[in-house]
């Protein structure tokens, strides 16, 4: 009975995190973007600096009519948002937030493989949406999504493999247990490649060619309205949380902090992830969108060789220090 309660509590906590953190990132994005562009952003909803803007947006989305285009493939069209969203909830289960087994939703032996595999499944949602909408813009968006995933999953996997080599384990808590501070300079190239490839996989600016609103009108999501569209948005922000959490755990030492981590490990994890989330928003405001061929070239001619070099470096150092 106690075990069941424990599991239920963990699942509940992960679920609450899944529902609230994306909203926090979303609101931060509103405000950060606004201030970087010399304006105030939402100021009225909820009173204090428009904190309830996203709640109001949610209410608006819930009230909108849920339209399925006449030519669409009904069932797949309706299923797609769930396929896009659920993988991120599953990945969140495996990310450790503090030291010990108590601070992770579920200890998974092959954690690195689990998170990367399940994140890849989320893209199927965009593909299904793009195809089932019976819309040319959507189909183009779906195609670009697929091409982008195929290009950027490889560097992501390779850099994650580099960390796994360094730690000698593929379990996420195991990697954190093995972490030393000098891994930071050692794996820095891998960290940057992982983060950039993750951004591309999430289709965040400057890698948002698949949803390019000014040319293919949100790509795969053109035909979506109301709650289903909101679910796709939620998937994007949940993806930011997952990517920042994963980069923190794999490359930045997770709960390790410079002044001892006793009892405060989760603060370090959250702090590092928050800084990364800020960088994600910052990049969106700073860089223009990459063209499709530039996107592909960046991955195949820069990120893949860099990640291979990182693996070679990891291997050499690993052999030398043994």
């Amino acid at each position: 009975m106690n075990d069941a309660l424990d599991v239920a509590l963990r699942l509940l906590i992960v679920f609450v995190v899944f529902l609230t953190f994306p909203l926090i990132v979303g609101q931060t994005e509103h405000k950060v973007m606004a201030h970087m562009q010399g304006r105030l952003g939402p100021m009225y909803a909820g009173g204090f600096h428009g904190w309830a803007q996203l709640v109001a947006d949610g209410v608006k989305f819930a009230q909108k009519e849920d339209v399925v285009p006449a030519g669409a493939d009904r069932r797949i069209f309706q299923l797609a948002p769930a396929v896009a969203l659920l993988p991120y909830l599953l990945v969140l289960l495996a990310i450790p937030i503090g030291p010990g087994e108590g601070a992770v939703g579920e200890v998974i032996d092959a954690g690195v493989f689990f998170v990367l595999a399940v994140m890849g499944v989320g893209v199927l949602g965009s593909l299904m949406a793009g195809w089932a909408s019976a819309n040319k813009f959507s189909l183009l968006g779906g195609l670009r999504t697929a091409a982008q995933l195929l290009a950027y999953e490889l560097p992501m996997l390779l850099t994650a493999a580099s960390v796994a080599m360094a730690a000698g384990t593929v379990s996420l808590p195991g990697i954190l247990d093995a972490f030393e501070w000098w891994w930071l300079p050692w794996q820095i190239v891998g960290a940057i490649v992982f983060f950039v490839a993750g951004l591309a996989e999430l289709q965040r600016p400057p890698f948002d060619m698949p949803v390019a609103d000014s040319e293919i009108i949100f790509g795969a999501y053109t035909e979506y309205t109301g709650l289903r569209f909101a679910l796709f948005l939620l998937a994007e922000y949940a993806g930011i949380i997952v990517l920042c959490g994963l980069t923190t755990v794999l490359f930045l030492g997770g709960w390790h902090g410079p002044w001892g981590a006793d009892g405060l490990g989760w603060v370090w994890t959250l702090l590092k992830a928050a800084v990364l989330a800020f960088i994600v928003i910052w990049l969106r405001v700073t860089y223009p969108r990459l063209r499709e061929d530039q996107l592909q070239r960046l991955s195949w001619t820069l990120l893949v060789p860099l990640s291979l070099a990182q693996i070679a470096l990891t291997g050499i150092v690993k052999v030398v220090i043994q």
Binding site: I76, D109, G120, L124, L139, L140, L143, A146, E153, L154
Partner: protein, 238 residues
């Protein structure tokens, strides 16, 4: 890679307990779950090959491959299960859908999805399935996986058996993949030099009328051919 690795895991770590302690008439919960997931997987596989809607077939293939991953999980082969999801669900099906969308993916039934060879295909499929089942049953007749103990298919056990007992097949497979990789690059480079006519995105300077639809030079298709090779490279890289 996965069948060989799975067999390696199984051979390495199965406890060869006496068969009489396991009755077929008193199944445990895991065994019942295994059977049910197997039925779902089989059903999804049947729909995959019989449905007349192409993209639906690809999506049912996701269910089938995912079902097999769950079966691996139930047999405690966690590593193999996640690799199955990563490579088959995450990449192969995405590649498949990409190809379908690039070429022909109508919504609704495709009248030409029926093949005249279906009975021959059925015969070959049944023969192949029979041969595989016979080999597996014959090889592992008296071995049982101890599901209660430490995970027999953990990453550590899989890696150890893969790089100790099964290194040669592993290396042979990587050479095969390397050959495929090189082949893909050679094919794509040859196609590029043969084309030689105007660069693909170029439009007539007047921009007046693209009245001659030249399908070869259509930007989308061109992207597709390039990406096809790249993804082949990626598969090889793994």
């Amino acid at each position: 890679m996965s069948p060989a690795a799975a067999a390696a895991t199984a051979a390495h770590s199965m406890t060869t307990a006496a068969a009489e302690s396991h009755g077929f008439l008193s199944p445990t919960g895991v065994e019942i779950a295994f059977l049910l997931v197997g039925l779902v997987t089989f059903g999804a596989a049947l729909v995959t090959v019989t449905t007349k809607q192409l993209v639906h077939a690809a999506l049912w293939l996701v269910v089938t491959l995912g079902g097999i991953a769950v079966e691996y999980l139930l047999l405690t082969a966690e590593f193999i299960a996640w690799v199955q999801v990563l490579i088959y669900v995450g990449s192969v099906v995405v590649l498949l859908l990409f190809g379908l969308m690039l070429t022909k993916a109508p919504i609704g039934r495709s009248p030409d999805a029926d093949s005249g060879n279906r009975w021959a295909a059925l015969a070959v499929a049944v023969a192949a399935a029979a041969a595989l089942v016979w080999v597996v049953v014959d090889a592992f007749r008296a071995t049982w996986i101890d599901l209660g103990g430490p995970a027999a298919g953990s990453t550590e056990a899989t890696g150890a058996s893969l790089f100790q007992n099964w290194v040669l097949p592993f290396e042979a497979l990587s050479v095969l993949l390397l050959a495929a990789l090189v082949g893909a690059i050679v094919l794509s480079r040859k196609a590029k030099t043969e084309k030689s006519s105007p660069p693909v995105n170029s439009r007539p300077a007047t921009g007046s009328s693209p009245s001659v639809p030249d399908s070869r030079n259509h930007p989308v298709e061109r992207n597709g051919s390039v990406k096809g090779t790249e993804s082949a490279e990626q598969e090889g890289g793994r």
